[in-house]
């Protein structure tokens, strides 16, 4: 007989066997920090996890009918979306949830960055989150090939081609990734293993670690305080709000899945099944990867074939690796945040990154079948205009901020953003 509380009911039953009282007490007192900034940002991690859970469930359901293989991948998806009851819904939800997960993940990453949640003692939470981001992109890339249609085939060919530029092991890496020198059924098998086993195992383990850190340390308080002055109770207040948000997300997901089953149809966000992949046919112009890779795709195009003695793609890869490397070790670079002081320099770096990615993505949409943008397509004109406005607006904003910052040099920095 244990001597803790909760003697009755199923909680008591569990407690007598597993001593769960400390856990219950912990959950009862768990709090989410409240401060001068909005609490909206604290929901984003959970939202990302919700979309991931949807992916797991729909993914397992799709796995019941999907068959990887040159002669069966496309046909099984076709069968799934046309004949199986609600098969169209499962696929549609899976595709939409992938995109929404990435949007929410990126927002979560940038919000934690801006709010300096990465500062000590939460450096490793940032690092695990960073790895989770990479794994999510891996999910997107590997899953895209599985229907084995023309678009996916060529997008994968173009996408995997990039790894050739990795110095020393480039060719080896290419062959390992593709299961051969070209994209073939072997690639499909490898990507299937990645998407269904390897990445899920890695992802779930890391999420476990990430969540463990968050539970142990609590969510990050606003800048200027090591511990939050006050908080909202997790159970029931935050949890029920979280649940409400998840329901809203689910609603949005369902509406999108029913009314826009193949994606909005803009390049990079279109998953109509189309025709089966034909490795012998030439690539059609205007292939683009999914929208979350468009920035990389466009950046590669910006580099000339040779610069500073390196090939264009190699230099691009170097630059991107450098930037991503810096992004990973931000917790150790940001001295001011370590001292609980605002670090507008890093905030600007974050805004700069957002603008950089937005500009590249919008510009990538401009590129059609190797024709110049004067071909008159209105989407191209719009995306081009948006790209330049982004740069312009960004430059103005950053300029004004610096001016304000330098005029405020004399007065001490404020405790919160």
């Amino acid at each position: 007989m244990s001597d803790s509380g909760h003697g009755q009911g199923w909680l008591g039953w569990l407690d007598r066997r597993y001593q769960i009282t400390p856990l219950i007490e912990f959950l009862r007192h768990k709090e989410v920090p409240k401060g001068p900034h909005s609490m909206v940002w604290y929901y984003l991690g959970g939202m990302t996890m919700f979309f991931f859970l949807v992916q797991v469930v729909t993914g397992v359901l799709l796995l019941m009918y999907y068959q990887p293989g040159e002669a069966t991948a496309y046909e099984s998806i076709r069968y799934l979306t046309t004949k199986v009851p609600f098969g169209w819904l499962m696929r549609s939800v899976h595709c939409w949830s992938a995109h929404l997960m990435i949007i929410s993940l990126v927002t979560h990453m940038f919000s934690t960055m801006m709010l300096k949640a990465y500062r000590p003692p939460r450096e490793l939470t940032w690092v695990t989150g960073y790895i989770l981001f990479a794994l999510t992109l891996g999910f997107g890339f590997s899953g895209y090939l599985l229907p084995w249609n023309k678009l996916a085939f060529f997008a994968t060919s173009v996408g995997t081609d990039l790894v050739k530029s990795v110095p020393l092991i480039g060719n080896w890496l290419l062959q390992v990734l593709r299961g051969g020198p070209d994209v073939t059924a072997n690639t499909l098998y490898r990507f299937f293993a990645l998407h269904v086993v390897i990445l899920p195992l890695a992802f779930v383990s890391l999420i476990g670690v990430h969540l463990l850190f968050v539970q142990r340390q609590g969510m990050a308080p606003p800048l200027g305080a090591k511990v939050a002055p006050r908080g909202m109770r997790f159970f029931p207040s935050f949890a029920l709000r979280d649940l409400l948000l998840w329901l809203v997300c689910f609603m949005v997901l369902l509406v999108l899945a029913v009314f826009v089953p193949y994606g909005p149809g803009i390049p990079g966000m279109d998953w109509e099944l189309g025709q089966k992949a034909d490795p012998l046919a030439p690539a059609f112009p205007g292939i683009k990867p999914e929208w979350y890779f468009l920035w990389e795709y466009q950046l590669l195009k910006e580099f000339p074939p040779h610069l500073f003695g390196l090939e264009g793609p190699q230099l691009c890869l170097l630059v991107v690796s450098l930037l991503l490397g810096i992004w990973a070790i931000i917790p150790w670079l940001d001295r001011q945040a370590q001292r609980e002081q605002p670090s507008p320099g890093f905030s600007d770096f974050g805004w700069g990154a957002i603008l950089f990615l937005t500009f590249l993505t919008l510009k990538a949409w401009d590129i059609g079948a190797m024709e110049p943008a004067t071909s008159g397509s209105s989407l191209k004109v719009i995306s081009r205009t948006c790209a330049w406005w982004t740069i312009g607006a960004g430059a103005v904003i950053i300029g004004i901020r610096w001016l304000l910052q330098s005029s405020r040099q004399s007065s001490p920095p404020s405790a919160s953003r």
Partner: protein, 514 residues
């Protein structure tokens, strides 16, 4: 040490002896080496690396043959050697060329004038068109060893300049009266014993056929210099197989070969058709705009007919043949047999009208459309029937019936095609609809073909499956729309329930926080 040296010595002696031997491969004799080393005005060697690589890749026999020509001073200049090597001939052809002194001499730029030099890069305005060296080595006769000497006479192995050339040609007036060319080619090509040695599948009746044709009569009876002979269509030096895309009689090039004369108004001036009307010169232009011309020349469809497929090639349009309409049935067999079983067959024969061409034209065969049956401007039926069949009002009715049935099916096909695409965008399964649309398209094609029976019953039998398909498609489209409504309903229900849950949760939250 002694053992090694005693072993090495004989080996050394033998290899030295071998090196001293004359015909050792790998050793280039002095004259040839000199040609390879010679430099041009710009200081670079005249023989390019590619040409040198080609030489290095030759087998021993060919190398020996080349060395022999250089030693015999048939090839003395590096530019000359370069031309020979630049051809990049395969071994069979190189073997023939290296033993043919005619070509070897005539490719030497120092000895020949532009009017007699065989070259790969003709000088514009100076080099006659028939002296393109590439033509020579591509010629089918060259490959069989029948090169210059075969027509011009003489001995290719001889290096003496004889005047026995062209002994078999007429000595005077051979450009004006070119009938002699026919019998000259025919001495081989009409001799089946001879031709069987080279290609048993080639026919040997070309001259006999040609004599029957207007071309033949023009040349051999009227003795007109404008008339075509063998060389006009087949070329003179680069005669290639008709299956070779570079041949002047390759199917895709036949229209331009025939059109070289037949579209030339000056050349055709004064010539008439068998009925006395002047010979038209717009056939090529009309053909290019026709379905056959566009299929062959624009889409590269080698199944489409060129001039010779309807008119014949050697026996082009024998006099006494009034119409080539029967040749349409070779491909359009279905329509032709329907027509043969119809009322029109007898009527057309009585009026001596060409069968297919009367309605479809001969050269300018355009894409057919249903309005040809209607009563309007483009109607074909009305025009004739008003003039010739005034006592058969049912004919007009039949034409109108054809038109309305087809127009209806066509409209349905277009509309449902668009609908199917819209439904597919919404994520619905449109495979069964597409399949039924295919059935409708098939029936449309069949029905349009069965117009040629000019019989309502026949036409109806072909159109019936189409009308059934139309009903089937309508049903499938309704089913798809119903499925979509079901999906929307399901969504609304789920959203409503979720909304209810959210509302209850929200109120609960408020309660708990109070």
């Amino acid at each position: 040490m002694r053992i090694i040296s005693s072993f090495l010595c004989p080996v050394l002696c033998v290899s030295l002896a071998a090196v001293a031997a004359d015909e050792k491969p790998g050793v280039i004799p002095e004259k040839l080496a000199g040609l390879f080393a010679a430099q041009g005005k710009d200081g670079k060697p005249t023989i390019t690396p590619e040409q040198r690589t080609y030489f290095d890749g030759l087998n021993d026999r060919l190398k020996a043959l080349l060395i022999k020509t250089v030693e015999a001073e048939v090839i003395t200049r590096p530019e000359h050697l370069g031309t020979i090597l630049a051809l990049g001939l395969r071994p069979q052809k190189m073997e023939i060329l290296l033993q043919d002194n005619c070509i070897l001499c005539h490719t030497d730029p120092e000895v020949q004038k532009p009017e007699t030099l065989l070259t790969l890069s003709p000088a514009p305005g100076k080099t006659p068109s028939h002296l393109n060296l590439q033509d020579f080595v591509d010629d089918v006769h060259f490959l069989r060893g029948l090169s210059c000497a075969g027509c011009h006479g003489g001995d290719p192995g001889s290096d003496k300049l004889e005047h026995s050339f062209v002994k078999e040609w007429p000595s005077a007036g051979r450009d004006k009266d070119r009938g002699w060319i026919l019998s000259f080619c025919a001495r081989c090509h009409s001799d089946s014993t001879f031709m069987n040695r080279f290609n048993p599948a080639l026919p040997t009746d070309q001259l006999a056929k040609y004599k029957d044709s207007p071309h033949g009569k023009f040349l051999l009876e009227a003795r007109d210099a404008r008339a075509p002979d063998c060389l006009s269509c087949h070329g003179v030096h680069g005669i290639r197989s008709a299956k070779n895309p570079l041949s002047k009689v390759y199917r895709k090039r036949v229209p331009e070969t025939c059109g070289a004369c037949h579209s030339d108004a000056k050349r055709m001036a004064g010539l008439t058709l068998s009925d006395g009307s002047p010979m038209p010169t717009n056939q090529l232009a009309e053909y290019r705009a026709s379905v056959h011309g566009r299929a062959l020349l624009e889409r590269g469809d080698l199944g489409a007919p060129a001039c010779n497929n309807c008119h014949g090639n050697h026996a082009a349009m024998p006099t006494g043949l009034s119409s080539v309409s029967q040749s349409c049935s070779l491909c359009h067999a279905g329509n032709a047999s329907l027509f043969d079983g119809s009322k029109h067959k007898q009527a057309f024969e009585e009026h001596k009208w060409p069968q297919c061409a009367k309605c479809h034209g001969n050269h300018v065969i355009a894409k057919t459309h249903d309005s040809m049956l209607a009563a309007g401007q483009e109607s074909l039926c009305n025009k004739c029937h008003q003039q010739y069949a005034k006592d058969n009002p049912e004919c007009n009715a039949t034409a109108t019936y054809f038109y309305t049935s087809l127009a209806q099916m066509d409209q349905v096909w277009n509309e449902f095609g668009v609908t199917a695409d819209r439904l597919a965008m919404k994520g619905l399964d449109v495979d069964p609809i597409h399949d039924k649309l295919n059935e409708l398209a098939d029936s449309l094609k069949q029905a349009r073909s069965h117009i040629h029976s000019f019989s309502k019953n026949d036409f109806q039998r072909a159109a019936d499956p189409g009308e059934k398909a139309v009903l089937g498609i309508s049903r499938l489209v309704e089913e798809a729309k119903a499925e979509y409504r079901f999906r929307q309903l399901g969504l609304v229900t789920t959203i409503a329930l979720m909304g209810l849950v959210m509302l209850a949760l929200y109120v609960k939250l408020r309660r708990l926080e109070r």
